[in-house]
Structure formats: C-alpha cells, structure tokens
C-alpha cells in the first residue's frame, strides 16, 4: 500500500486515478464525521465534497513532515464545518440537531449526550475514539499542541460522562 508521500506525489502531479482512489477510501469516514459535527447530512455531504475539491484544486497545502494525510484531510473538513457553523443562525432550520442521522434507531442516550458537547469537543472525541487518530494527528488536525490535546481529551471525556450520566436529559422531540 502506498504511503502518504507516494499518494500525495501522485495527486500533486494531477493523477486523477490516484485521487479517485484516495476519495473512495476516505470520503465515507469523513462524511460520517462531518454528519456528527454539523448535524445535517446534506450539509455534511456538501462539506465533504468541498473538502476534496479544495485538496484537488490546491495541492500545495499538504506538508508530509507536519503530519499525516489523514490528519490533513480531516483538518480541512473540520475547518470547513466550522465555517459552515458560523454562517448558520441559531434558529436556522437547516442546522437543527434533529437532523442527526438515524438518531432514534440507535443508542439515543449516547448520541444525545454526544450531541450536547461543543463542536470542538465532538470533533476531538470522534477523531480519537472512532477514527483512532493519534495525539500528534489530533494536534495537526486541530492545530493545537499535543499537551493541549491530552488536557482537552480529558475535559471532553469528563464533560460527556457528566452529560451521559445525567438522570434528567430532557426528552427528545419526536
């Protein structure tokens, strides 16, 4: 399997097949991550597409010595998700948390608790627990020092634990 450097060199040289492969391998996970960050499947799909478009259109951004390609990809996705949030008004129906996918089908307590975390904490914990990113990858993605990654992971887990254990989670709307 080619490493990040090899993949990137091919993409950088305009190899559409290499990019297509990179897209197929990473797009599903990035889209799922974005769904949990923006809470809107359509927006998540758009942001995912924009993220890959940015990488293809501006292939000078990745620096292998600074981190992995995966961290770079999720970092761009997360930034675009943050930009998307800033364009949404608090009551914009398109941003409703109610649009979180499949919520009623699975683990409502965890999903509800997770959804109550701030966006940055959701990103951090998802990338760590689901995507399995290392501390250094998280530092690259979130543009924070590794020491801060550790302390924020702790703060996030503690916040989620308190919400998850809360006996008085408001009942969700149908």
């Amino acid at each position: 399997m080619p490493d990040d450097q090899q993949v990137w060199e091919r993409i950088h040289q305009g190899d559409a097949q290499a990019f297509d492969e990179f897209y197929r391998q990473n797009a599903p996970r990035l889209e799922l991550f974005l769904r949990h960050i923006v809470g809107n499947p359509q927006a998540a799909e758009d942001i995912m597409q924009e993220t890959f478009t940015q990488i293809w259109s501006r292939p000078n951004g990745f620096q292998p010595e600074r981190g992995s390609l995966r961290a770079y990809l999720f970092g761009i996705g997360r930034k675009r998700a943050s930009e998307w949030w800033r364009t949404q008004s608090p009551k914009d129906p398109g941003t409703s948390d109610k649009t979180v996918v499949h919520r009623s089908e699975i683990s409502p307590a965890m999903e509800d608790a997770f959804r109550r975390l701030p966006e940055e904490q959701r990103s951090l914990l998802w990338l760590r627990e689901v995507e399995g990113h290392s501390y250094s990858e998280l530092a690259e993605t979130l543009e924070i020092p590794v020491g801060t990654v550790k302390s924020r992971l702790f703060a996030t887990r503690e916040a989620l634990r308190k919400i998850w254990q809360s006996p008085r989670l408001p009942k969700e709307d149908a």
Binding site: E31, P59, R86, T148, L153, L160, R161
Partner: protein, 366 residues
C-alpha cells in the same frame, strides 16, 4: 496522589499511553478512579458502536465529480470571480478589547518555508502595522490588527490572494470604528463582515488603501526570504523592554512541565499605568499578568524571557521569545472560566487591558 490529580491520567490511560507510577498506583487503589476509567472506556466503545451502525457505505457516497485543475493566467487572475472568505485571523482571535485599552495585536503564524511579504501599513492617525505574510504557506498568509486610538479603534485585516513575482495581490479590510458609550468595546470579530477590497501591491511602491470611516492608509511591502521573528509590534524592535513595560512575545504556558497553551505568533505589550496583560487559555480561563500586585494574585519571578510562578501547588512557567520586563517581580491572577462558561473558549488570545476596569466588570463582559 489525590483523585483530582489522577483523573487526567485516567484519560491518558484510556488512550493507551503510559502514565506516572504514582498515578498508576492511585488508580489501582481508588474505586472512584477505576469507575471513571471504566466509564471512559464504555463511552469510547459506545461511540464506536454508534459509528459502526451509522457507517456511510462507499456506495452511498456521492461520486467524486472531477473538476479540472486550472492555473489561471495573468489576465485571468485580474478578472477572476473571487469568493471572499472570512479572515483566518478573525477565527483565531476572538479577542475583545475593552474601552480604554491600548491593545495592539498582530497575528501571523510562524512558519519555516517560502517567500514572505513584509507588509507595512501606515494609517492616517500615524500608527504603523507590520505583518509578515507568507506567499507559500496558506496558514500564514493573513494577519490582523486592532488598535485603540483616540475616539475609537482602527481594525485592519490583510491577506495574500496571489502573486506574480514582486507583483502581489492582497485583500484588505479596514475600518475606523468610533467609540460608542455603552458598547462592549472592540473586537477582531467585527472585521469579519467588513467588505474586502483587493489591490495589486508592487514591491517598493506605495498603495493607497481605503479605510472606511477614516482617511486612506498607505501600504508598502518588501519581500523577505524567511519569516522574521517579531519581538514586538508597532515597529518597535528593541530587545530590552522599556521602563514600566511588560511584554509577552509568542508566550507558551507550561504547567508541571507540560505545555498548556501555545500563543504562537501572538505578541502583546502593556505600557500604560494600571495596565496588564490578559492571556486567554481555552478551557482553562484567563491569566492576568501585572507589574503591580493584584488582589488574589500570586507573585511570580521574571528571569529574562521566563516567568515562573506557582498556583495551587503546581509550578507554572511562561516562556516567551524576548525579555518580559526590566524588573524581576510580577503578579499573576488566574480567573477560571467558572461563571463565564464557553466564552471565547475556542482559541488562545492575548490583550492588554486596564486591570482596574477589567476586574471591575462581571465575567460575562470580559
């Protein structure tokens, strides 16, 4: 070791890392910490289960729509339609500058490669802002400045759009905002919605750029082969601090030998009487640093570019890029986020403030 000291290591343990022996012993003997460890692990498992159930199948993902990679020619660049994004600095800096403060702040991340445009902007009030902008590193291609002046504040934002040798296209957002009694002050966020004007800057020549609400400013630029280290801002590059001055150049906060926060590229100085420096640490709170005692503050010691102090039994250090002050004593007051949860809690920022005014206000206004 106590539970409150061990809990962060419980989280580290969940991540598969090694932890100090004392922490490991405590967690082994403490039922509460073991319960927490179990709960953290369960949360991770549950999240992964949720993710597995929701996994987006490859077939569900919209196929990649190949877009041609276009390199616009010179004329094309001049006429291209440009989407105007928010300034990166406005995202990074959520600083609120209170009335009466004399904050000057420039944000330009350090980087290690590429050509650099040293942009100098002189406003109609005579103040000068200098920004080092990378032509190759998009993470260092923008900067912003907020300066409180008589009657209001000058808010400037600059970014690189493209370059053709020594002919560089820049985006400028600039506005003078008058001081309104009763308003909360000035914030870099306010620049966010300013209209952007683009200019072609020829190295060595002047460009007159419009400033909404004021007379135009003059922008000049020179090309450098590296990102310079800025000791301070406003054109003052003296290594030694002036009498009465407290200066933090790109500080790093270290607690118990672990980096808590890195104010990469941020420089702030306090020169006026009663003024001090405020450093906002996400998820932790604010650290007020003053050359004179503050109620509730601890005394720290200055050694050149290092400030050491102790809080709640833990050793702290601010490591900075230049000498901090002429004296050897300084006072640090930590204000946790309690009472002001979530306020500007995403990014580090620094500011210079009147300590009296800052401490007199309720936390929600700071």
């Amino acid at each position: 070791m106590k539970c409150e000291e061990a809990t962060e290591f419980v989280s580290a343990l969940c991540d598969g890392g090694m932890i100090p022996q004392a922490a490991a012993e405590h967690i082994g003997d403490c039922a509460a910490c073991r319960t927490r460890l179990k709960e953290y692990a369960e949360m991770g498992v549950e999240l992964r289960r949720v993710a597995s159930l929701q996994a987006v199948e490859e077939t569900e993902v919209k196929p990649w729509e190949q877009v041609p990679r276009i390199t616009p020619n010179w004329w094309g660049k001049g006429w291209e339609t440009m989407r105007i994004p928010r300034f990166a600095f406005a995202v990074l800096l959520a600083a609120t500058i209170v009335l009466g403060s004399s904050l000057v702040m420039v944000r330009a991340r350090a980087h290690t490669q590429g050509s650099v445009l040293m942009l100098t902007a002189k406003s109609a009030t005579g103040h000068t802002v200098r920004c080092a902008l990378s032509l190759k590193d998009e993470k260092a291609d923008s900067c912003g400045s907020v300066r409180v002046v008589n009657g209001g504040a000058e808010l400037f934002g600059f970014r690189i759009i493209s370059d053709q040798g020594d002919h560089i296209k820049i985006g400028v957002r600039a506005r003078f905002l008058p001081r309104n009694p009763g308003s909360g002050g000035f914030s870099s966020d306010q620049i966010d919605g300013f209209p952007e004007t683009t200019y072609w800057l020829q190295v060595g020549e002047k460009v007159e750029a419009k400033v909404e609400g004021s007379d135009p400013m003059i922008i000049t630029g020179e090309l450098l082969d590296h990102m310079p280290t800025s000791l301070s801002v406003g054109g003052d590059e003296q290594l030694d601090p002036n009498p009465g001055e407290v200066r933090f150049v790109a500080p790093v906060l270290v607690r118990s030998h672990e980096v808590v926060s890195d104010f990469d590229g941020m420089t702030v100085k306090s020169v006026e009487k009663d003024h001090g420096i405020v450093l906002h640490v996400p998820h932790d709170g604010r650290y007020l640093v003053s050359s004179s005692p503050l109620e509730g503050a601890v005394e720290g010691h200055i050694k050149d570019s290092r400030v050491t102090f102790e809080l709640n039994g833990q050793p702290y250090e601010f490591l900075t890029g230049a000498p901090v002050a002429q004296g050897d004593r300084i006072w640090i007051l930590h204000l946790p986020n309690e009472g002001n949860p979530g306020k500007n809690d995403e990014h580090e920022f620094v500011s210079s403030e009147s300590m009296t005014q800052y401490l007199a206000k309720p936390p929600a206004e700071n």
